[in-house]
Symmetry: C2
Subunit: 430 residues, 2 copies
């Protein structure tokens, strides 16, 4: 027991500034005191190379905690509610529709417990929060993060206060309130919510998962890299497409792949990284298009609220990765986002929220522009569930055919559907 803790704590060693390299103790802190750069957790990769094997990972739990050696928590009892190890679905019908040959969907629309990739980062952040002695946890959220923080805090018995923009989708608000946290609906957009939370974090002794706990929290996204590598049979894909909000997810998938190469779990490979934004909030795509190396903040206006961050904290790092891996960053409008949601549902039976619709629509756009090779093993990250953003598709998916509970009423409806071209198949009579 003691040796296991000692071994684990030994693999994450410090917080280090991504800009100037200054090192800090493993406290609740996220900004460099010298240059204001973001802090990141560092590990002892030599120790990891010696202690971690494919077999040791596979012998672990069927959750993100099979990769605990790569996550910044010391405990042997992390908060494990089954988060992670979501399906990597071979998307043959979507691939055929787009003209691709090796397409996979990493389906975090069914991540546990709250149906988005945020359950990964929150499981890590709240486990670390408990280790650091916090009894109240908080976050600035576009919705999914609030759902996840409230749910996992409830499971762990932590007090919880979350901050959201006041205009979020009904499902995201209700899907937070149900767990009994205090919910602050802020009149403003996410960037204003975030600024307020930075002030609160300075005043109150709370663990804000994506502010003072951000270096720990964000490491949870690396598991989306690890899992894809493991699920592809311990190899990296050729190309990934992921949504860009703050840019953190994108950079951490990249870090996850790199770490697996570094410790010898997979062979080195140049993976292309492509990012997806909604046109109504596309500061990173704009910088990419205009060949800038800085981000101009924007005021968001899009149905893709969960990725509507106008001033993305890790935008420049995402930009850099897309460029150096020969990837792309593209944006799509709200109509294309809705089409993206429908396309994924109709071909693969996966119902995603607006962020996932954005990613699928960008995939389609990149394929049509010849920017994805049909032969490439391409993995598309679907990060959230469509039941939370029902408003977005309501009115675009038709209506049921209302009938009486009688055979002739059914048969008239079938006939009507065929006339209206709503039925593209022929009912077979016995």
């Amino acid at each position: 027991m003691t040796s296991a803790i000692a071994q684990t704590t030994a693999t994450f060693s410090a917080l280090k500034c991504k800009e100037c390299g200054a090192e800090y103790e493993l406290k609740a802190s996220h900004v460099c005191e010298f240059c204001f750069g973001p802090l990141e957790v560092t590990y002892d990769y030599n120790a990891l190379r010696r202690s971690v094997t494919r077999e040791s990972i596979q012998a672990g739990p069927n959750s993100i905690w099979r990769y605990k050696a790569f996550l910044p928590v010391a405990t042997d009892n992390p908060i494990d509610v089954g988060t992670g190890m979501t399906p990597l679905v071979k998307a043959n019908r979507l691939a055929r529709r787009l003209g691709l040959k090796n397409l996979y969907i990493k389906n975090d629309a069914v991540n546990m417990p709250t149906l988005s990739f945020k359950d990964r980062v929150v499981s890590v952040a709240l486990t670390r929060a408990r280790e650091l002695g916090f009894t109240t946890v908080s976050c600035a959220s576009t919705g999914n993060l609030a759902n996840s923080t409230a749910a996992i805090a409830a499971h762990a018995g932590l007090d919880c206060c979350v901050f959201i923009p006041a205009d979020l989708e009904a499902g995201k608000v209700l899907g937070t309130l149900i767990y009994g946290p205090t919910v602050m609906a802020v009149e403003g957009n996410y960037d204003q919510v975030n600024r307020l939370c930075c002030e609160v974090a300075n005043t109150y002794g709370w663990g804000f998962v994506n502010i003072n706990l951000r270096p720990y929290y964000s490491e949870g996204s690396k598991t989306l890299g690890y899992e894809v590598a493991e699920q592809l049979g311990w190899q990296l894909p050729d190309h990934i497409v992921a949504p860009l909000a703050s840019g953190s997810l994108f950079t951490k998938i990249y870090k996850g792949f790199q770490e697996f190469v570094q410790v010898g779990l997979v062979d080195e490979k140049k993976v292309r990284f492509s990012g997806a934004q909604a046109e109504g909030c596309s500061p990173i795509a704009q910088a990419y298009r205009e060949d800038r190396d800085f981000i101009k903040p924007v005021k968001p206006s899009t149905i893709a609220k969960s990725i509507a961050i106008g001033n993305p904290a890790d935008g420049v790092y995402a930009l850099d990765i897309a460029r150096k891996t020969n990837g792309n960053i593209e944006s799509v409008n709200d109509a294309e986002i809705i089409e993206g949601i429908k396309l994924l549902a109709e071909t693969e039976g996966i119902f995603t929220e607006t962020a996932g619709g954005t990613t699928v629509a960008v995939l389609k756009k990149l394929v049509e522009a010849g920017k994805i090779d049909p032969e490439e093993t391409t993995v598309v990250y679907i990060t959230g569930n469509g039941l939370k953003t029902q408003e977005a598709v309501q009115g675009y998916i038709g209506e049921p055919l209302t009938i009486e509970a009688k055979l002739d009423s059914f048969e008239r409806a079938i006939e009507r559907a065929r006339t209206l071209d709503r039925l593209d198949w022929q009912p077979v009579l016995v």
Copy 2:
């Protein structure tokens, strides 16, 4: 390849009438021609005992298909979208609240792909439908089944037409339409929908998952027994609590436990089976209370629409199992159902739909009546997700505190919340 198919097909051998024992070929058929009893799939348990081990199961996929030898499909390529192997959560906070010591939640609120246990039965039914040559699949549904049939049919490229009562929750209707099936909204309750579908099934050459394919379909629920046994370390629990709609789920969990005993995968144990119904549709609970061995059909009136079956096909079998295992069947009213949903969310971070609220409320009622021993290892089956029945809790979970994006506005809100007793914890200042 050939031998694997031969071995698998050898383990399921016939359809057999549960009443008179008459045997039939493995076709799409569900009613005995002689006595009108329901047909069930039989297996060669001697062959299973020789060929299946704990290790062979654990070496299988992380889905229901690790138990393929116990499921009525011949193919080596079943439709696998990650269904099953949902978490068995040790529910310590809920247990403490109720005064129990060994409580587990089997969490199918996060089952894949459509967040209910129906994904299990549909994965089996559509795999079998394909084997039997059907190109169009259908169902009579209270909501979850329509979601699942539409989604998995989309993934598999099967044509799909589903039938639902016209008054279903918005999330269940939208969560079906999104996959692009034909949806028939029938003016009537589920029992009327079901009767219409029986007529359609006799006329059209469609595979109705819960009518002509019902013997195959219903076997999928056995995996909820297998998984719990495996997740408890290859042993059976002392007591299970599950919702009762048609009664099929309940009887198949029982069959699953029995089969594992019969082939030597777990030790024999008397497991108590307790069933949960909503007061507004409780024909099985009424029969249990009145010591009847027959079911009087009722007209449903409850918010728990997904279990509102007034004329339950397997009601008498469920009744029999509850009695012979020394279990119970209990019902709760709509207010208790809402409290059940909230209790589970606030203690365990699991957001379930009305059926799950029913089950948790019945658990509470049974504990309070001294009908569950605090020491018993008790497993509660949560079968669906709360995002699909948002109407049920809207108005019962409070509202966010709306604030401006300013620190003093936040602080006034915190103060107000404390005054209103909405904040039971003390914010710590740094």
